[in-house]
């Protein structure tokens, strides 16, 4: 039942609440004023703005191996570059970035470095190590499966496994509840049968189904026959 009462607010009440509201708003606004005193933020860019910083590019070079032959063909280089994140803020891989837009100066430069290393006879693993040595793990489009990064890879599956165990426990407890209820019902049925034997009945079940459900039920019963 609702606790609401019908009552009129007096003018005094109104002014008091308005005052409390105003003080509350002013109080909440206070930290904002303090924030505004902080140094101004960067000029606001619009959605989708991507700024290319030339500082993001770091040359990666090694002297060619003696008698070097290219270690990968064009398709292999493309596949290799798909595993590398472009250091510009495009969030694309090197291959996609360099073949999508000429505005990014970084991905073509990184591609140039990779191609020179490929031509210099360096293997994919060696090129990858060289790139990681220069850019760090940031250049990889996905974390390496080692050390702390293992957490990235296994936590989702560990979470899922934990959830599955939790659901298993939950379902078992529900099953247990059901068995207990069934046992209790069996006892009630025995009592009811005794009562019927003595000439009384309390069966009051109702039909609760839509015509579609009844139609399906009939169809299923017909199929069974």
């Amino acid at each position: 039942m609702s606790r609401l009462q019908s009552a009129q607010s007096s003018r005094r009440d109104f002014l008091l609440r308005a005052g409390v509201t105003a003080v509350g708003v002013a109080g909440m606004a206070w930290p904002v004023t303090a924030q505004e005193a902080a140094p101004p933020a960067q000029p606001e860019a619009s959605t989708g703005a991507v700024t290319m910083s030339a500082d993001s590019y770091k040359p990666v070079s090694r002297p060619p191996k003696p008698g070097a032959k290219p270690s990968m063909d064009v398709r292999q280089v493309e596949a290799f570059e798909r595993n590398l994140a472009c250091p510009c803020p495009c969030t694309l891989d090197i291959y996609t970035c360099r073949t999508t837009d000429f505005q990014c100066g970084i991905s073509p430069a990184v591609h140039g470095d990779i191609q020179r290393l490929v031509d210099g006879g360096y293997t994919a693993d060696e090129i990858m190590e060289a790139l990681i040595g220069t850019y760090g793990d940031f250049i990889l489009n996905a974390p390496r499966k080692q050390g702390f990064n293992l957490l990235a890879w296994f936590a989702p599956f560990a979470g899922l496994a934990l959830g599955a165990v939790g659901i298993g426990v939950l379902l078992r407890s529900w099953r247990l509840n059901s068995r207990r209820a069934a046992e209790a019902q069996a006892l009630r049925d025995v009592a009811s049968a005794s009562a019927q034997a003595s000439g009384t009945s309390d069966a009051t079940a109702e039909l609760d189904a839509t015509p579609d459900e009844l139609a399906r039920l009939q169809a299923a019963l017909k199929d069974d026959r």
Binding site: L4, N149, A219
Partner: protein, 678 residues
């Protein structure tokens, strides 16, 4: 009008504060007059937010460049339609747009419940007031769209060319409509928790709003995919970008809720879990907004870094703490007598479905925030990109697809062996037949094969369900096929609308699997030169350059390359891609040049041309992609939206049954019921 709009923003702020104060105090003191005042103040908050929004639109259309927002996102030569959509093109305007939708939803929720849920409504209104107050404060103090410049520029900076696209005009509003709709179920959850009225009554109102949220999030996400595909020029529609992930997270939890709510409605179980999902959906919306607007995670379409992020972080922490406290102190009220007759039942299937949905949600959230975690713990910046998300989420997605087919085939309470055999036979045959045909056609990719096997299975399930329902109606009521089909859906919109949504999901999975076979070719083409490439179906395509052309169009200078396309020697028409340099009214370039791709669409595949640049006046660098089944993504999205509308459409009273699909036949009447249709 601009001044009225600016002042209205502050009045709306005061109104929201008033709503919050009097609604909560009215609820606590049991004062109907205060509760009424709070509800009226909610309407007033919407009214003044609307005035503030109209004021900003007027400023945009009158090119009042003394306003920083107008000068930052529009120019005098910006087409009218994009002048209108500039409202949500930047941080400050989009915040006001958010508040506009939030207060509109709040006003609708309050009005719709003016005669119902009266016990909890003061707290629902109060909670909506708190959320509105927070967003209004963030707008007024943190990102005010009416902020003035010290001087008035001759022209504005203009809109980012990538936002001058129909997809971007519709995508943000749809997403906002979806995001913000989670606020109403959240407010009801808080109201129900405070008043301890945690029975099934509040779920009725919540379910409708959850559906609204799901519906708009679905449309918003698919529109965002379409925009990314046609505008960003990288030939993909989903990059697992932090901002994309932010929209995906609440979609997953709302989807989980729409399934688990059925268990509470039918069996009274999962009360705690449903409250948790409602709260989680709202918190993930705030988290997503924090990620998008704080600049904490690098993203191609995040807003610029600003102090607004701190506001969202504070609100997120406060909302999480408050709701955690509310739930933890109401655990006894959320207890339900839960019974399960069998592990093989619809209830269990829904639980597995929820587990997988939340698993995908967790994996996506984890991958999104892991770079921050890594930087905190190790001090190293790392990238968590598509290879991670694809590796982790692909198996979970396939599991979900399997459950999409399995769930509807299992009976509530307990499925017998005979029932399982009957139900599974045809769908399994459909799945296996699909697999055999694809292997015979030469497909070997294991992930793709599993995807299509499951797709065949789920479609088999859906067709079987419709066939049984239609067949039963035809026998029962002697209806024709068309009438029986329409009435079947109309009389049980929730169930069959849900199947239509499932069909849309299957199409999406088919499209995702299709992308595994995409191929591409790059070339430098002089006028008259050609490049030949094979598509994934083995057809040979030839692209002959017709040369470069430059011209001026609207507010841009365009450099275009046109290719003459043939497939196996048959002409397929011309395909053009453009480089656009947008200019202001002085003819000065604004922003970097952008790429407009050319797409030759078909059900089988898209031929996607990207003009990556001109080496000289005659030579164009092009990147041509063959993207299989992309059209199926848009088609799947449309089907899902149609299914969503069917599910949302109010059911006629006569067809409603509390018991839903579970027919309870009273003892002694089984024969009579069965005999009626014989």
């Amino acid at each position: 009008m601009i001044l009225v709009g600016e002042l209205s923003l502050w009045v709306a702020l005061l109104m929201a504060a008033w709503t919050t104060t009097v609604s909560f105090s009215g609820g606590l003191q049991g004062r109907a007059d205060l509760v009424k005042s709070g509800e009226r103040a909610m309407y007033a908050t919407f009214f003044f937010t609307l005035l503030a929004s109209i004021g900003l639109w007027v400023a945009l259309f009158t090119h009042d460049f003394s306003i920083k927002f107008v000068a930052s996102y529009t120019s005098a030569n910006l087409p009218k339609v994009y002048t209108f959509t500039a409202f949500w093109a930047g941080q400050a305007g989009s915040m006001l747009f958010w508040v506009l939708i939030l207060t509109l939803y709040s006003a609708i929720a309050v009005f719709a419940n003016r005669n119902s849920n009266r016990g909890m409504m003061p707290y629902v209104t109060g909670t909506l007031g708190v959320v509105s107050l927070f967003f209004l404060m963030t707008t007024a103090f943190g990102a005010n769209p009416y902020e003035r410049l010290d001087w008035v520029p001759i022209d504005g900076r203009g809109m980012n060319p990538q936002l001058q696209n129909p997809g971007m005009a519709a995508h943000p509003p749809m997403l906002y409509l979806g995001y913000i709709a989670t606020s109403v179920p959240f407010a009801f959850a808080v109201g129900a928790l405070i008043t301890r009225q945690l029975d099934a009554q509040w779920l009725g109102a919540v379910r409708r709003w959850a559906l609204v949220s799901w519906f708009f999030l679905t449309i918003g996400i698919v529109l965002g995919m379409w925009w990314a595909y046609v505008e960003l020029g990288w030939s993909g529609y989903w990059a697992w970008d932090a901002v994309e992930n932010s929209s995906f997270l609440p979609w997953l939890t709302v989807t989980a809720f729409l399934h688990s709510i059925m268990i509470q409605e039918k069996r009274g179980m999962l009360r705690k879990w449903n409250v948790t999902l409602v709260v989680l959906s709202f918190l993930l919306t705030i988290l997503g907004t924090f990620i998008t607007r704080s600049g904490i995670i690098e993203s191609v379409h995040a807003f610029a870094q600003s102090n607004v992020g701190n506001w969202f972080l504070g609100f997120l922490i406060a909302a999480t703490a408050l709701t955690a406290w509310l739930v933890s102190t109401r655990l006894n009220d959320l207890q339900a007598k839960a019974e399960l007759e069998s592990m093989v039942s619809r209830e269990a299937a829904f639980l597995y479905n929820n587990l997988v949905l939340i698993g995908i949600c967790f994996a996506t959230l984890w991958g999104t925030i892991f770079p921050i975690l890594s930087e905190w713990v190790k001090g190293d910046k790392i990238t968590v990109g598509p290879p991670f998300f694809n590796s982790v989420n692909a198996p979970l997605g396939l599991l979900l697809l399997a459950l999409t087919g399995i769930g509807p085939l299992i009976a509530w309470r307990k499925a017998s062996v005979g029932n399982l055999q009957r139900q599974f036979t045809w769908p399994v045959i459909a799945g296996v037949a699909t697999l055999v045909v694809l292997i015979a056609l030469g497909m070997r990719d294991p992930y793709a094969l599993v995807s299509y096997l499951l797709a065949g299975f789920v479609i088999g399930t859906i067709v079987q369900e419709f066939a049984k329902g239609i067949g039963a109606r035809r026998r029962m009521y002697d209806e024709g096929l068309a009438v029986a089909s329409v009435r079947l859906v109309a009389r049980n919109r929730r169930r069959y609308g849900g199947y239509i949504v499932h069909f849309g999901v299957v199409l999406l999975f088919c499209a995702f699997a299709g992308l595994m076979f995409k191929t591409d070719v790059t070339a430098m083409l002089k006028t008259g030169e050609k490049v030949t490439a094979k598509d994934p179906y083995g057809h040979e395509w030839t692209f002959t350059s017709q040369g470069l052309s430059s011209f001026e169009q609207l507010n841009r200078r365009v450099l275009s390359v046109t290719l003459d396309v043939t497939k196996d020697g048959k002409p397929m028409g011309l395909l053009s891609s453009e480089k656009r340099q947008h200019v202001n009214t002085q003819g000065e370039p604004t922003f970097e040049p952008s790429t407009e791709v050319g797409i030759l669409e078909s059900l089988q595949q898209d031929v996607y041309l990207v003009f990556t640049g001109a080496a000289d006046r005659e030579t164009a660098a092009v990147h041509i992609h063959f993207n299989p089944l992309v059209w199926w993504v848009w088609f799947g999205g449309i089907i899902m939206a149609i299914g969503g509308v069917i599910v949302m459409w109010p059911q006629a009273q006569r067809a409603e049954r509390e018991g839903g699909y579970v027919a309870q036949i009273p003892m002694g009447r089984e024969t009579e019921a069965a005999g009626a249709g014989a």
